[in-house]
Every structure is written in structure tokens, then in C-alpha cells.
């Protein structure tokens, strides 16, 4: 581990889907921040710094962090904001605690659905001259990647159906009260194609959601005697090229870069057996499939052979939370994956808790066709000085 101070997750809260429309954004952020602090047994007074992530286009506000100032306890405190990805707030928070200059960080990301058209809002991410006329958004770019992948590996269509089915079944167990989407094989395979080859039932409709995590330093954790900690073991993040046309969408080189760094820091050499659970970004099942290779879990030549390993009870259960296939707060799905992995390590994953989780993998991807890639390894074993 290269870090000057060790850090761990000591609290989390995921509020998604948020329905009813009766709470303002500030109330939503206040509630999720308070829930994460309560989970950690802390109050705002214990927080040294805050890192938030939000998207101006989805929020309908310029400098969307501004609205969070009061509701996440930012007044009089040190708050930084990243709009590039929800998971980047986690990266920032870890870096700040790892610097030894902060004892605690509150991480918050959110994604509302009030905007008239989410695809139109996301389409603004294209340059105005060459690409904005195209119907390019997160959904269509993911479909382009899916089509490219299926062109290279035709069995990807069949495998994508099985991944969607597994995630839907996992989601029905994890969130029986809210994940009410179809978990029947026929319903998925026969649902209409929205962006070829992605079918309607392979993805979940966007929902409003908010995620918060509390990160603390080793010394703070030791002093407060926290016993439910997901320790950071390794972290990598990287970006693909700016334009889709400059990329081979059947590969994920930025994910490989992020994975190499995270695994090197964590000392992971055999990922398939090193992790007890994994939360893998699943914008569509095709992206999850590609991530298996990028994360070093199995090469595309072995996808069919190994896909059963990722079932509940298998060699490496993947997305026991159901993933974004079941609950999709667009901008903070990446941070949700990290929160879900941390919950598994901390033993707080409720309905989807796996037994004896000592090490978990979280993969977050954001932007057009997984432009931003983040890999986080979390573990139950603290640093030696703490153990």
C-alpha cells in the first residue's frame, strides 16, 4: 500500500429508489448524509471534510455542489466537489484521509430524475459540432459498445441474457420492496429492443437516488474502536480517450490500468479466488461481461465456461445487490457498487449479505461506454498496527 495513512469505510447509506417527490434535493441529501453518519455512530461534528459528486445537467443547476453546502454539513467545513463521476468523490475522500491531514470524510453523491429528458441532458456531453447531432448518450453509447462486443464475441448476446436474469433475481432478494422488475427469463429475452442489442428488461429505468459513505483514518478507527470497517486495500482509476471513435469499444484498457493499480496495491494475483464477492458495474449486461475480462476474472474465451462461477453461492458471487440492472440512479450507480461492496465486508448488507466476506471487489464505471473506470479492493483485515 502506497498510502501515508490507512483508511476504511465505517458507515454507508444508499437511498434508492427515492419515490413520491415530496422531499426537496436538500432534504434528500440531508437524510442520506445523516443515515451514513448514524451508521458510523458519528455526527457532523466528527467530520473533517466532505467530498461530493453531482452532475449539473441532471441537477438542472450550474455548480450543483452548491445546493449541498448546508444539507451535508458543509457550512464552516472543508468541502470539495467532483462532477466527473459519483465514484470519484470516494477517490477524493480516500486520498484526503490517506494524506494524514484528515481523520474523517463524508462522501455523498446523488442523481435526480426531475430533468425533462435524461437522454437529452446526457447528450449535451457531446461536442457541439461533430457528435451532438447524433443520438449519443450513456444508453446509446453503451449499446454501441454492446454491439461491438457482440460483433467480436457473438455468444455475448446469450451471456448478456443470463447476466441480466441473474442480476434481476439477485435484486429481487436484495430489495424485495423496491426491485419489482421482471426476473423471468422469457420476459427479458422477449422484451423490446430499446437500443440494439440492449433490451428493455436488461436495464432498469432511471430512478432518483443518493449514496453516502463515511471514511475514517486508521488512528480514528482505533481511537473510536470501530469494529465494522471495510479497509481500503487497493484503489485504481483511469479514463478512456475523449472520443468514442478513438476507442476500440470491444476492449477496456482504462479498466485494465485501474485494475492493475488496485490489485498491485492490494497484493491480488489471482482475483477469481482472492475475492469473496464482487460488485461489478452493469450499465448493461454487456458492460458487465466486458468488465469480467478487464477485472481479470476471466478472459472472453472462458466467459461461457465461467459465468456460472458468478452466481450466488458460486466461486465469486457477483452483484448480489442486483446491480444497476435492478436499481439505476444514473450518476451514482458507481458509488452504489462501492457502498454495496463495503456493506458486504462490514456485514451490513442485510438481505444480500454473503457469509464470511473478508475481501470484496468493487468496480465502478461512468460516462459514455464506460469512459471512467474505478476499481476498489476492500478488506476486513485492518493494518497490522490495528489488528
Amino acid at each position: 500500500m502506497p498510502y501515508n495513512a490507512q483508511a476504511g469505510v465505517i458507515g454507508s447509506a444508499t437511498h434508492a429508489p427515492i419515490t413520491g417527490g415530496k422531499r426537496s434535493l436538500e432534504e434528500i441529501l440531508y437524510d442520506v448524509g445523516q443515515a451514513a453518519l448514524a451508521d458510523a455512530g458519528l455526527t457532523f461534528e466528527d467530520i473533517d471534510g466532505i467530498a461530493v459528486a453531482a452532475n449539473d445537467q441532471l441537477d438542472g443547476r450550474a455548480i450543483s455542489v452548491m445546493a449541498a453546502s448546508g444539507s451535508v454539513g458543509g457550512v464552516g467545513r472543508d468541502i470539495l466537489s467532483t462532477p466527473s463521476a459519483g465514484e470519484h468523490a470516494f477517490v477524493l475522500g480516500i486520498l484526503r484521509v490517506a494524506s494524514g491531514q484528515y481523520r474523517t470524510q463524508l462522501i455523498v453523491s446523488w442523481s435526480p430524475t426531475d430533468v425533462g429528458s435524461i437522454p437529452d441532458a446526457l447528450r449535451l456531453g457531446n461536442d457541439p459540432y461533430f457528435h451532438r447531432r447524433l443520438p449519443l448518450d450513456d444508453f446509446s453509447s453503451n449499446a454501441l459498445q454492446a454491439a461491438a462486443l457482440a460483433g467480436a464475441v457473438p455468444e455475448a448476446h446469450e451471456l448478456a441474457l443470463s447476466i441480466a436474469l441473474r442480476n434481476r433475481r439477485n435484486g429481487a432478494r436484495a430489495y424485495p420492496e423496491s426491485a419489482k422488475l421482471s426476473a423471468q427469463a422469457d420476459a427479458i429475452s422477449k422484451s423490446r429492443v430499446t437500443h440494439w442489442p440492449v433490451r428493455e428488461a436488461m436495464i432498469a429505468p432511471p430512478v432518483t437516488g443518493a449514496v453516502a459513505l463515511v471514511i475514517a483514518s486508521e488512528n480514528y478507527i482505533k481511537e473510536r474502536r470501530h469494529d465494522r470497517v471495510a479497509w481500503l486495500k487497493g484503489m485504481g482509476w483511469a479514463t478512456e480517450a475523449a472520443f468514442l471513435g478513438d476507442r476500440d469499444l470491444t476492449t477496456a484498457p482504462a479498466l485494465e490500468s485501474a485494475r492493475e493499480r488496485a490489485y498491485e496495491e492490494a497484493g491480488i494475483t489471482d482475483p477469481l479466488d482472492a475475492f469473496d464477492v464482487a460488485e461489478v458495474s452493469d450499465a448493461t449486461p454487456y458492460q458487465e461481461l466486458l468488465a469480467y475480462e478487464g477485472l481479470g476474472l476471466c478472459t472472453r474465451a472462458k466467459w461461457r465456461e465461467r459465468i456460472g462461477d458468478f452466481q450466488p453461492g458460486g466461486r465469486l458471487p457477483v452483484n448480489l445487490s442486483g446491480g444497476a440492472t435492478c436499481i439505476n440512479p444514473v450518476f451514482c450507480t458507481g458509488l452504489m457498487r462501492i457502498a454495496a461492496a463495503a456493506d458486504q465486508v462490514r456485514g451490513t448488507a442485510r438481505n444480500y449479505q454473503a457469509a464470511n466476506v473478508r475481501t470484496a471487489l468493487a468496480h465502478a464505471a461512468s460516462g459514455f461506454a464506460m469512459q471512467y473506470q474505478t476499481v476498489v479492493v476492500l478488506g476486513a483485515e485492518g493494518p497490522r498496527s490495528h489488528a
Partner: protein, 392 residues
């Protein structure tokens, strides 16, 4: 724990202009990066991570516009994220780059960005969208009217006059005339400032910053990396951030959480940076200051928030020349934000200029003997305050 030392080893900034029709947005970012990499004498392979500095997307008219700059900053397959804290984005980005290194994750980090404020149509229309859509956005709020209210409060509380404000403009334009990168670099007079039209009373046209286009980039490195290669560096010895309320109304009337005249969060942010740098008496320790002040009246907030003068004392001390080049503590020798404002990187330029000053590389606007400099950035609705101490 001993705080690891982190140094600035490269700086690049554009010659800021009202328009840059010759360069598209990524070109402008690349221009600053190229200058910075030349200054640092590094190749892109040496850069381990990039922090991208960009404030509201709407200013460049592209959602998540940092994605378009990925190749311009050489970030492909590298660690990359963007910071946005409004006007303070630039200094927040330097701080984020600092944490990349202070954490031990990286040894060499590039932070870069650019803006085309002069080409966005109307920045105040964009900036009205920073407020809550229900309560404050329907008001004619822009950053000018917002800070005009702050000026009125400061006038009421401390007796500032419009001539006091004009003195800041004259001083900063005098400084900018010495800086080839400044956007507004024509000298002016109190009469000319006072004769300019009102934009939002008491702020007149000449009390306002311009809308600038240009970029800025910096390379930061760990002390180990700097020592091993025997590089010249300016050390970042203090870093602070602090935030105020979102709603302007919470800074006014009875029961306010903070007085709109005093920028308490800026003061707190500087206190944090000074504490980290071991500075207890800034008026004695600081040799030069690059303080974010897009309107003449806000320079008084900044000077007092930085502890370079007591509350309400800075107008008189400005009149005495204390903050001019040649004075005790020159403030904004580059001409400051009042003369150049490419919002996404303005606060980074403050750090860059302070670093150039303490390394004796500021050229025509060099403050003699400067060894300790400070910088800050203000973002949101005078809400986010980033501060930094740099030393030779």
C-alpha cells in the same frame, strides 16, 4: 504525522484575451499544458495522474466537458478526475492534485484547465443558474448583483466609499500593465472608474472583471521526486478550504449564520492554511498575495479574510499604498482576477502567480524579495473558499 512536502515544478498559462477564435476548447487546454510541460521539462510519460479544472459545464456549453479535454491533458488510461467548486475550482484542483501526492498515491500530478468565458454568450445568464430554481433564481441574481449586496453591507458596516473601490481598480490595472498575460492591462484613473456606468450599484463597469479566454496548468511533485532529480520547486506549505451557506438570505437580516460583509469562511480557510504553514502573524510573514477578487469591493474582503488587515481597515490601507507593488504586502501584483477572469482556471492562476513571485520568476510585476506568498479562490455564491500558502 509529519506532513510530506509537495512542490510546484511547472507552470503554464495563456496570454488571456476576450476571445480565442484561433483555438477551440481542447486547444486552449493543450496550450496551457504545453507551456507547463516545457516549464517542468517533463514528458507525458512522467505524469501519473491528472486533475482537471473546470467550473460550470454551461460556461463552455458542453456537459462533462472535461471528457473533451482528456487527450489535451494526456490522460488516456491514466488516473483522472475533475474538480468543480465554481470560481474556486482552480485552487481546489491544485489542492486535489496536492492530495494525490500527499496520500502517497502519486509522485507527479498535472492539473490543468481552460475557459472561454468571453465566448459563452452571457456569463451572468449562466451564473444565474447556480441558484435554487424555486427560491432565489427568479430574482435578478448574478454574481455581480450578489456581490453588490455584499458591497452595500460592507459600506454600511465599515464606511467604504465608491472611491475606495475605484482605488482598487486603479492599483490592479497599474499592476496588470506590467503583466503580459493580463486581459485588461490598460492603466486607468479614479475619474475614469467613477465615470463608468453602473452595472449593479455600487459596482460600476470598471469595478468588474472581464470575461476572459485562456488556460492554466501546473505540475506538482513529491519532495522525494524533486530531490532525486535536483529540481527547482516552490513548496506548498498550507492548504485550506471552507464553505458558507448556499442561500444568500442566510447571510442577511436577523439571525443570519454569517455576515455577508465579512466572508467568515474565507477567514477560516486562511486560518487552516496558515496553521498548516506555521504562520501565526500573516502581516509579518506574507510577502505577496494573489487574492481572488472579481469585483473591486471583494478585494477588501479578501485582504481582511487573509488577515493582512483588520476588518474594515483595508480601504484606508489600500489608499496608503500598502497593497501596491512597492508597498508592504503587494496584493494582486499580476492585476488579479479584476483584470483577468477565465473562471475555470482563475483561482489556479492565483496559485501560479504566487508561485512565480516567490521563485523570482514573475518578470515585470515581480515583488522584490518575495519568499512567502498566499493565494485564494472563491466559488459558488461567495460560498467556497480555497486558500494556499507557497514558499520558495
Amino acid at each position: 504525522m509529519k506532513t510530506p512536502r509537495i512542490g510546484i515544478i511547472g507552470i503554464g498559462q495563456s496570454a488571456f484575451k476576450p476571445r480565442r477564435d484561433d483555438a477551440n476548447y481542447p486547444d486552449l487546454v493543450r496550450e496551457a499544458v504545453r507551456l507547463c510541460m516545457q516549464d517542468a521539462k517533463l514528458d507525458f510519460d512522467d505524469i501519473e495522474a491528472v486533475v482537471y479544472s473546470l467550473s460550470p459545464d454551461a460556461m463552455v456549453g458542453i456537459g462533462n466537458a472535461e471528457r473533451l479535454g482528456i487527450d489535451a491533458v494526456g490522460a488516456r488510461n491514466k488516473r483522472f478526475l475533475r474538480i468543480n467548486t465554481g470560481g474556486s475550482t482552480g485552487i481546489s484542483s491544485v489542492a486535489a492534485a496536492y492530495y494525490h501526492i500527499a496520500s502517497g498515491a502519486c509522485d507527479v500530478v498535472l492539473t490543468a484547465g481552460a475557459d472561454k468565458v468571453g465566448e459563452c454568450g452571457d456569463s451572468q445568464t449562466v451564473l444565474n443558474k447556480i441558484w435554487d430554481p424555486t427560491y432565489e433564481r427568479p430574482l435578478p441574481l448574478g454574481t455581480i448583483s450578489m456581490l453588490a449586496m455584499s458591497a452595500v453591507r460592507y459600506m454600511h458596516k465599515y464606511g467604504m466609499t465608491e472611491i475606495d473601490m475605484a482605488r482598487v481598480v486603479v492599483k490592479n490595472r497599474e499592476h496588470a500593465a506590467l503583466n503580459p498575460n493580463a486581459h485588461l492591462c490598460k492603466r486607468t484613473s479614479i475619474d475614469e472608474v467613477m465615470g463608468s456606468r453602473y452595472i449593479s450599484w455600487p459596482i460600476k463597469l470598471f469595478d468588474c472583471c472581464p470575461q476572459s479566454s485562456g488556460g492554466c496548468a501546473m505540475v506538482l511533485a513529491s519532495e522525494r521526486y524533486i530531490r532525486e532529480r535536483n529540481l527547482d520547486a516552490v513548496w506548498i506549505t498550507g492548504v485550506g478550504h471552507c464553505s458558507e451557506t448556499y442561500y444568500i438570505g442566510d447571510r442577511m437580516g436577523t439571525g443570519y449564520t454569517a455576515d455577508h460583509a465579512d466572508a467568515f469562511a474565507l477567514g477560516n480557510s486562511f486560518k487552516r492554511a496558515y496553521r498548516m504553514a506555521g504562520i501565526t502573524e500573516p502581516q509579518k510573514s506574507v510577502h505577496v498575495a494573489e487574492l481572488y477578487a472579481p469585483f473591486s469591493n471583494t478585494e477588501f474582503h479578501a485582504i481582511e479574510g487573509a488577515g493582512l488587515a483588520g476588518l474594515g481597515e483595508s480601504p484606508a490601507q489600500t489608499a496608503e499604498g500598502r497593497f501596491s507593488i512597492g508597498g508592504a504586502i503587494p496584493v494582486n501584483p499580476s492585476g488579479g482576477t479584476l483584470c483577468t477572469n477565465a473562471i475555470a482556471v482563475t483561482a489556479m492562476v492565483r496559485v501560479a502567480e504566487a508561485a512565480l513571485q516567490v521563485s523570482g520568476r514573475a518578470g515585470g510585476h515581480q515583488v522584490k524579495g518575495a519568499r512567502v506568498g498566499i493565494a485564494n479562490g472563491n466559488g459558488g455564491d461567495h460560498q467556497f473558499f480555497g486558500t494556499m500558502v507557497v514558499e520558495a
